[in-house]
Symmetry: D2
Subunit: 134 residues, 4 copies
């Protein structure tokens, strides 16, 4: 599935160039990943098991500036799922045409008590396998 | 004592109005309070005792906008010290004349393990009594 | 009217104390004021006239910590409206009972081209008079 | 040259995982690039010509968590310089050993009035050629 989240850009997202500041894109993408996770019931599962996803590697490509007041659509998809890691692709669309910003996020699953990586298996794997797009 | 910290305003501090965004002032003031605490040896003491100061109440007054590239001076003073709380005054100066922003912060001391308020006494009190301006 | 906005607290809102960081409350309150303004048609009016509201003075009172994953309700009301300024009260509710955080914001209206204060009159006044609670 | 900047991690840089939040790394890296630019006299040149560098593409690799109170060293180098773009490499070191976070930033030069890309030539090119490491 490709999940879509809508967010309106506020003054606090922008900087003096008049556009969304680079560091804010990471928060917009994070918000969209959370909403995706909520919509598929992943948050509840993670809380029960005291697990969390953390990002190991990310890439952002800025194609068009996004301005205050824009109503953007953030598309999120799980593209790859390995035994202990995966890759999420995200795009921010502000109006018609090609995306304004593209993001790629490599994640692993950790135990929130000790911060150690754990395998992606059991119920969480089942859930993610069901929404993966490739 | 009145402590002075210098910080240069960057693009990520500003918003599309071309000025420092309101929420960023809280970070600038927090940074200045940390540097003050470091300079008087307070950080070390707090770490040893696993204590931390938290803000209960704050007030900000915005008098002049501050722009990217400004080298601001943040003045910080401990004005009041009660048995379990105190009040810090801060001012951001950008250039000559009156301050651009004024802040007042009411704080209490907490135990970082349980989040509970604890009295300001012993070594921490001695230290703070020595720097208080009134 | 008392406007209500719902927002879910994410990891990027929190700090190492495990709660929402103080500076983030200003963004949460700002987001709620924007949604209020959208819901009553104020954003459109401001854009047509190239006007904007800016905060001159604010006060925050922190009563209870708010943690990641909380679904908070932010209540916003316009309490006072003068010829060139006004006062908005806001409360963040996380669960039952008294608010976790209370905010008071004094604002003025400015011309976005020159940053100068302008009177609150005409259509904007009419709109605000209609939603004011006192 | 490899430029080094020291920054102390504060509470507002961290999140409820107890580490620096991902989006904050972009601000730490941005701060280090600004200080580099100041130290070589680039800021002054950009201001005279009303030019600015913007990031087109970035990559972050997170290797070790960084906690509140850490005094980190951020190393910054200009690795590639084309006719209209370049690449900066950055590393955050928190203590001994390998870096905690690595960043790669592709930038272009723009005219701040119209946001259009301009060639990197003249005095700015001379300055950058002098500090480039490859």
């Amino acid at each position: 599935m490709i999940h879509a989240t809508e967010i309106t850009i506020r003054t606090f997202h922008t900087d003096a160039f008049g556009h969304v500041n680079n560091s804010r894109y990471l928060e917009l993408f994070e918000e969209a990943r959370w909403r995706y996770a909520e919509d598929i019931g992943l948050i509840e599962l993670l809380k029960q098991k005291n697990l969390g996803f953390i990002i190991m590697d990310l890439r952002l490509r800025f194609r068009k500036p996004v301005v205050e007041g824009s109503r953007v659509t953030i598309k999120t998809s799980l593209d790859t799922l390995g035994s202990a890691s995966g890759e999420v692709h995200q795009q921010i669309h502000a109006g018609q045409g090609s995306p304004a910003v593209k993001g790629t996020f490599h994640f692993i699953l950790i135990d929130r008590d000790n911060g150690k990586s754990v395998p992606i298996d059991g119920e969480i794997r089942e859930l993610l396998d069901g929404v993966k797009i490739n």
